[in-house]
Amino acid sequence: MKKWTELVPGAVVLEAGSSARFKTGSWRTFRPVWLQENCIQCLMCWLYCPDMAVKVVDGKMTGFDYDYCKGCGVCAKECPGKQGKKAIVMEPEGK
């Protein structure tokens, strides 16, 4: 934590997107687990994730960023899955 004398005048934050240094993964009580075999790569999880915690590389879902995932479960709920089988399931943390 910076002292007030160390802050930029006007409390301006000069580093864009610096919140990435603050990890919110510890908020989680349930963790999303990705089952690749049921994934149709629709990217709905990525689109709906409020925490930008779905890792998409070159247009494809590759897993979760557990440093930031708060475990809300929106991705698991919105996942259409393959033939009725979800590609994302929520599991209790620590299991």
Partner: protein, 319 residues
């Protein structure tokens, strides 16, 4: 069915392209788990393919994305008080135009103001109305979660009829919750003669199309977007997108746009679902389902039906 599949596919292809672009809203922000607002912001910024300056009215979004020394924004971003997000941004936009004339600024910079329903429907209405009337080239996005969630769920003029909040509590003295109907802000903004639209994150393609369209229009624009709040709505954290979808399908939150004074409904649900489907999963309406409150439910349904029919009629006439 085939065309629908095709449409879905083309949308996904575009989504794949979108996923390769940088999202100008970073993780690590302190919004609650499962909040609807970050998704709304993310979608609006994704649909904005220009450099952008953002001003943010006080509210959940503002306080939890700029906790000192951290910012979730990768855009120039100005914190303002509750009442003046639109006023601040109109000043910035005017300055930009002056500098542009002198050749000191690049062209095609867009301006977006974000505000919650408290900062937009209530406290910021005067500055919003002023900025829209003056026709500044900016887009105002209201993320509507239906109460002052940031300070502990106090009623706002966007709170729906019958909702239980800390300042419209349902109890023995008043078993019905909030007794007044919500303000129809989108139509108030439409009455300014500007582009005004209503959107929902569940219908993301519609939302992004409206944002894209808004950026093409020179002048003031307003988009009202529903953003479920699981704390204030008393629902599970995974429900935000599902609830915003139900809000559209029950016609509680109709998707339409007003352009050149003409109203057009952009999404007509295949089957209009009963309002119950949207209201019942939410704890803030729990009291409506106890004996003696049946009249209230009927009043809510009647209100929704009336608004929807009027919208459809206006939409037909405009075509």
């Amino acid at each position: 069915m085939e065309t629908r599949e095709l449409l879905k596919w083309s949308a996904q292809v575009k989504l794949r392209e979108k996923s390769k672009q940088e999202v100008r809203f970073e993780h690590g922000h302190r919004m609650c788990a499962g909040c609807g607002a970050p998704t709304v912001v993310k979608m609006v910024l994704m649909a904005t393919e220009y450099p952008v300056v953002v001003s943010n009215a006080t509210g959940c979004l503002e306080v939890s994305t700029c906790i000192q020394d951290y910012t979730a924004w990768k855009t120039p971003w100005i914190h303002t008080a509750f009442e003046n997000a639109a006023a601040t941004l109109s000043g910035v936009e005017t300055m930009y135009r002056a500098l542009l004339k002198k050749g000191k600024m690049p062209e095609n910079v867009k301006f977006i103001a974000f505000g919650g329903d408290g900062g937009t429907y209530d406290i910021g209405l005067q500055s919003l109305s002023g900025a829209m009337e003056r026709g500044h080239d900016m887009l105002y996005v209201c993320y509507d979660n239906g109460a002052y969630m940031n300070t502990g769920i106090q009623r706002s003029s966007a709170t729906p009829l019958g909702a239980d909040t800390t300042t419209s509590p349902a109890g023995s003295a008043n078993p019905a919750g909030k007794l007044q109907v919500r303000k129809d802000l989108t139509r108030i903004m439409g009455a300014h003669g500007i582009y005004a639209a209503q959107a929902s994150p569940s219908h993301w393609l519609d939302l992004m199309t409206k944002v894209k369209k808004a950026h093409q229009i020179k002048g003031a624009k307003f988009i009202n977007i529903i953003a479920p709040c699981n704390r204030g709505w008393r629902t599970a954290t995974d429900n935000s997108i599902e609830l915003s979808r139900l809000a559209v399908e029950t016609c509680y939150w109709p998707l339409y746009e007003i352009e050149d004074g003409k109203l057009k409904v952009t999404v007509v649900p295949e089957e209009k679902k009963p309002a119950d489907m949207f209201f019942k999963p939410q704890g803030r309406f729990k009291h409506l389902y106890s004996p003696g409150n049946e009249g209230m439910l009927q009043r809510i349904q009647a209100e929704i039906d009336r608004t929807w029919e009027r919208l459809l009629k206006e939409s037909e006439q405009a075509c």
